[in-house]
């Protein structure tokens, strides 16, 4: 069963993108599509927020250490960074991900 909050957001996106944007033109249509994009982004973030926070916690290294080269060649850190960035990129725009990266978002 769909989460009621996510269901609300999905419906709002559908109405903004189809019934509203299609009936508008110019600046008004642009604003409707921009708003739809924002709501859809918020919906995707809500779907994976807990996992995003959990993955971020596992990147437990100071920024200064990355800058200073203490993690040069650290494949394990790279993998954690990659997972975190893949999740954020999916929230922002799923189209930027490769099939392999989308599979990471979907999980095992």
């Amino acid at each position: 069963m769909t989460d009621p909050m996510l269901d609300l957001l999905d419906e709002a996106v559908t109405i903004l993108r189809t019934r509203l944007a299609d009936s508008l033109s110019g600046e008004q249509r642009y604003l409707a599509l921009l708003t739809a994009n924002a709501v859809a982004t918020a919906g995707r973030e809500a779907r994976i927020r807990e996992r995003l926070e959990e993955v971020r916690k596992r990147i437990d290294v100071p920024i200064a250490d990355i800058r200073n080269g203490r993690h040069d060649g650290d494949g394990a850190l790279y993998d954690r960074l990659r997972e975190h960035v893949i999740l954020r990129a999916w929230i922002a725009d799923p189209a930027t991900l490769s099939d392999e990266e989308r599979a990471i978002v979907s999980g095992p």
């Binding site: 924002a38 990147i59 990355i66 725009d93």
Partner: protein, 351 residues
């Protein structure tokens, strides 16, 4: 920021200023339309009548908040005027007004050129720009002329001393911009570190546009009509402009057309190399393409920060900030441990 569309029409003080610039007895502003694009500045198309003859110009002034790397309107105008003097294809500059009292902010007035700049449309709509290979070659020629611009007089004063090491100074600037916002992006930091240790050694340093990409030039049905947006121009490695133009993030829907979504690289490269006599260094360009993603990502973060900080509340800015996530992912793909640095064969010692 007030809506200026009404107030500019018939604006007596502005009409007087324009009359002086055009050496005319009378100028009337009959229409004012805000042009799309330009998060850092506002562009207005003005329909004028100058001593009875119609003429279209563009008035350009700062948006409420700018970003760290962006020059002032005054400096941008100087850069545009220098490019015009060097016969680069740019709009003719008509004048700059530094008096904020006239219309609320300093502004520049330039020729209105025909054509479309919007990147996604320029890439998608092949009825624009004429033959795409020829357009790419012409863009390469124009970029070569930019890199050959003489830097003397006021332009030399504006640019200051060339950087000793443009590549490393760019990395330092990007780190500083992140620090100034107090924003931690560990993925971006990984890429910046990778870029630092694989940075090319300093070589040629020339005048560069620094935002030469699809979306920042106008094309009509026949080809290139004008190169726009000079607010980031300054000294750098000439390969930085090539990398910015070719970076995947500026190809829009045509990632397969590696020269800005316009054409294949050889067309663009041919125009550049023939005009400049300089060989394009593929390793350097590859490095600057990585940095292009990082620079655009940091600028996007800055745009999002303008919204989040309350400096300028805007849904458009908030969503632009989110673009940084996809750019960071694209950069990370280029920075896997043990790949690019070894490929480039030029890992540098870092002190």
């Amino acid at each position: 920021m007030p809506d200026m569309s009404v107030s500019l029409v018939g604006h007596a003080a502005l009409e007087g200023w324009l009359a002086t610039r055009f050496s005319a007895n009378r100028v009337s502003i009959d229409g004012a339309e805000r042009l799309s694009g330009g998060a850092i500045q506002e562009n207005w198309s003005l329909s004028l009548t100058i001593d009875g003859k119609p003429r279209s110009v563009v008035l350009r002034r700062d948006a409420p908040a700018t970003i760290a790397a962006s020059r002032s309107r005054s400096e941008e105008y100087q850069l545009l005027a220098a490019a015009y003097a060097a016969s680069i294809r740019v709009p003719e500059p008509f004048g700059f007004c530094g008096d904020s009292g006239l219309i609320g902010a300093p502004f520049a007035v330039v020729e209105r050129c025909d054509g479309t700049a919007y990147g996604p449309r320029v890439v998608r709509d092949t009825t624009l720009g004429g033959d795409r290979a020829a357009l790419g070659e012409e863009l390469g020629r124009q970029l070569a002329r930019i890199h050959a611009m003489p830097v003397e007089g006021e332009l030399a004063s504006l640019l200051g001393e060339p950087p000793a090491d443009p590549a490393r100074e760019m990395i330092a600037a990007l780190r500083n911009w992140l620090d100034a916002m107090n924003i931690e992006r560990p993925g971006m930091e990984w890429c910046l570190r990778h870029a630092l240790i694989t940075a090319p050694e300093p070589a040629d340093i020339v005048f560069t546009h620094q935002d030469f990409r699809t979306g920042n030039f106008l094309v009509d049905g026949n080809g290139l009509t004008a190169i726009l947006d000079w607010e980031f121009a300054g000294w750098s490695d000439p390969m930085s402009d090539i990398g910015w133009f070719c970076a995947e993030c500026w190809r829009f829907s045509r990632a397969d057309l590696e020269a800005g979504g316009i054409c294949a690289r050889p067309d663009f490269y041919r125009g550049y190399e023939r005009e400049s006599g300089r060989r394009i260094d593929a390793v350097r360009v590859k490095w600057w393409e990585l940095v292009a993603h990082l620079r655009w990502a940091v600028i996007a973060v800055q745009q999002g920060h303008r919204h989040a900080s309350g400096e300028e509340r805007s849904l458009h800015l908030a969503l632009t900030g989110r673009i940084a996530d996809g750019l960071e992912l694209a950069a990370l793909r280029m920075c896997e441990p043990g790949t690019n640095a070894a490929d480039a064969g030029q890992t540098r010692a870092v002190t």
